[in-house]
Subunit: 467 residues, 2 copies
């Protein structure tokens, strides 16, 4: 049993509700758009605002960490119990670009509440989800009479997530000692729906490459030479076509090496989710499902590695026709990786496979970008169980499990810090991340506060740290 | 035996040499670039200049035929023998764009003779090769004492060949009665080399299409949806990859229907040509030969139908990466056709095949451009034999045979007029068609004059017209 009386938590949150929302609205007014240079000072202002608020909250150490780009905010509040586990909360204070004329019903940086929803850029992604932890930890203290959290609590709130976190990995590596933690809580994701609270147990990783194919030294005449020399656009197409076998399984030898297969229990749990494929297709703006034989759509996007062509180009693409054999072609591929796959091994496998696909007379160059590792926390991990219990108490219903098909900087934390990553997010698919009229449901936002309030006690009680 | 004493022809040509070259230089000074609107008046001036010169030459009917674009020149000079065959000479008076800064050693429209070569845009393609017929027919008359040619001679010199002959087909159809001929002589091609005079016996045809593939309504996130919906760039690649089988043979069912196979004699003749594959690859700016199994390079480019992808595009092609499943992709295909293939049948075959390649959830649109038919004159055709004999007499060596891998408006003449097409060209591969420093070898130019001088008698003697 947890030490925190739920009613005391709820009472405290109710008392602080207005002040909390007023603060959040103030933060949301700062257009901290990291991708737009003209907002660089706003991103700095956002970091300073958050740092001030974290000091007010009670964090004993609050620092702004500069990077070659936008600053991150680091905060720490140690438990009175020296043996308590250390938990690092990750989020970001920068936001996507937004302009009224993109289709917003109100100004994106003038937050407004309509029908129980707070509309503003960043309301869900990610200021709202970062901010619920500030009231969460206060409620935790108020309800238990503590003066410090039950765990050693750290926060790292970066300022470049919406710009691809270009300096995040280096920041984490250079501050690894300060960031050391037994677990990482990522509050930058969502859950299934308002009615179906879920905990995400993993994210896919990502490897990306560009393959350039060179044929003739210049475009040549398809009448004079057609049918007698290799065509690099054909080679590019054959390479992409060879990515998958007839079961839509990735056909690159060694690609699946080490893949952690879904357990029967996970498959059962996924299958129990109220998944509506028609609705999902509408969200995907697509007209059919298609993927690896033997797996459901949710399994395909959450738990199976993929190969996708993100771009292909070669020769003449303008109006009408041009009878050439093009000089070259380019293929951009990305691979989503799942737990057990090593990006370096995947890169080697792709390079070896690609070299075999290229016909004589065609020269190829393959370039890999920086990879993101997959992360996965087992269902029975005690820290994950704590998140599940805290969330169940807040929502008053059983919590189910999802995974995330995308990839994120959370994996860097897992890898550099050697700590499991847990996901605590209360956003729902309709919240409009990166879209006009982004919002957060106030009910869910306060469920997030409540989950955060229950979590630290539960963790301290059931888990003393890694593994 | 021919009626024209070769020495009389040569003597006449020698007498006229300077005046002929002066005239040709005057014509080459007119920058009749049909592709550049600012030269529209030059193209008209070129037509008028030629019309005047043809009247001087003795053509009894000379007309400028207007089109919605640039004008063509038509001329006719009937034989005294009403039963003589009618021959239509085809060429063009427009030229490719040219500018000194493209790499010319002298001004492209200020013709200059260096080391027995006349340098100017249009010297070989095609003014020089049109113009040799004017002195050719005069030499024919001078040497035989005739006052009219031995055949009913017609000329059609178009003004838009370098712009893709957009109005040529309509012009030929609307003037089919005036153009009616027993044979067409195309003087807009080349021969193997200065040492190896050749007659081209056919051109490949051309069918072109664009296939657009539509997947999601917009680019979608490859993390959220990757591996679970069909990717139109993958579909495009698989379609292109399916064009050929493992023997590099076109894999579209019905594509080869009707193809006139090479005869053993033709294969022997091709094989006797002094073909240097290394040299050919340098010309092709390519690094390997590749094509339909069981055929040589020359057979592949001259006598076999092909499928080539001229362009492919879809998704992100800029620097770096973008993790999307693209909304769509486009493929541009062209098919070179050989004798016996019907473009309409090929279009039907491609449409049926393409429809089968497209996976569920991807929508496709296929658009065909106007097709060009192939043309081929059998080696034993009496009119072709006349061209061979005339050329052999002019060059003093046996004449060999080639074909042309490209496609041209000559096929329209064959189809509309129902007449066989013969090729009489004296240009060689180093003449720099469409390139800087275009030139014609003066020795070969006058061999062209001489061939033209011998041809009309030979035709009238050995052939009375179709078939």
């Amino acid at each position: 049993m947890s030490q925190t009386p739920d009613s005391a938590v709820r009472t405290y949150i109710e008392q602080q509700r207005t002040a909390f929302l007023d603060d959040l609205v103030e933060w949301l007014r700062i257009p901290s758009v990291s991708a737009q240079p003209e907002h660089a000072s706003d991103v700095r202002r956002s970091a300073e605002w958050l740092a001030g608020k974290l000091r007010e909250t009670g964090f004993t150490t609050v620092e702004i960490w500069q990077t070659p780009g936008a600053p991150a905010v680091f905060a720490e509040w140690r438990s009175d119990d020296p043996d308590a586990p250390t938990v690092l909360v990750y989020g970001h204070h920068d936001v996507q670009p937004a302009a009224r004329e993109d289709g917003w019903d109100s100004e994106p940086f003038e937050p407004v509440v309509r029908e129980g929803r707070l509309y503003a850029r960043g309301a869900a992604d990610d200021k709202g989800q970062v901010f619920f932890h500030t009231l969460g930890v206060r409620a935790h203290l108020a309800a238990t009479g503590r003066t410090a959290p039950a765990v050693h609590l750290k926060l790292l709130i970066e300022g470049e997530e919406e710009s691809g976190s270009p300096h995040f990995r280096a920041l984490v590596e250079s501050r690894a000692d300060r960031l050391a933690a037994d677990a990482v809580i990522v509050s930058d994701t969502g859950m299934w729906s308002a009615d179906t609270p879920t905990v995400c147990t993993g994210m896919r990783g990502l490897a990306e490459c560009e393959i350039r194919l060179y044929g003739p030294d210049q475009d040549i005449h398809s009448g004079s030479f057609g049918g007698a020399v290799p065509n690099p656009a054909t080679a590019a197409a054959r390479l992409v076509a060879a990515l998958h076998d007839e079961h839509a399984r990735v056909a690159i030898p060694g690609f699946y090496d080490g893949v952690v297969e879904l357990t029967d229990r996970e498959r059962e749990l996924f299958a129990e989710l109220p998944f509506d494929e028609e609705q999902w297709l509408r969200t995907a703006k697509s007209y059919a499902t298609h993927g690896e034989a033997g797996y459901t759509t949710l399994e395909r996007i959450w738990a199976r590695p993929t190969a996708e062509v993100n771009g292909i180009g070669g020769g003449y693409q303008g109006p009408g026709s041009k009878t050439i054999i093009p000089a070259g072609a380019v293929v951009k591929l990305s691979f989503r990786l799942v737990a057990g796959q090593d990006p370096d091994h995947v890169e080697k496998a792709v390079r070896a496979w690609a070299a075999e696909q290229v016909p004589a007379g065609i020269r190829s160059e393959i370039t890999f970008g920086a990879a993101t590792r997959p992360c996965l926390t087992p269902l029975d991990h005690p820290a994950l169980q704590s998140v599940v219990r805290a969330m169940s108490r807040a929502f008053g219903t059983p919590v189910r499990f999802t995974r995330e098909g995308g990839s994120g900087p959370a994996a860097d934390l897992q890898e550099v810090l050697g700590a499991p990553v847990l996901f605590l997010g209360i956003s729902i698919p309709s919240d409009g991340w990166h879209a006009p009229n982004e919002k957060v449901e106030l009910d869910l936002l306060f469920k997030g506060v409540e989950t955060s309030a229950y979590l630290w006690d539960d963790l301290a009680e059931h888990w003393r740290g890694a593994p």
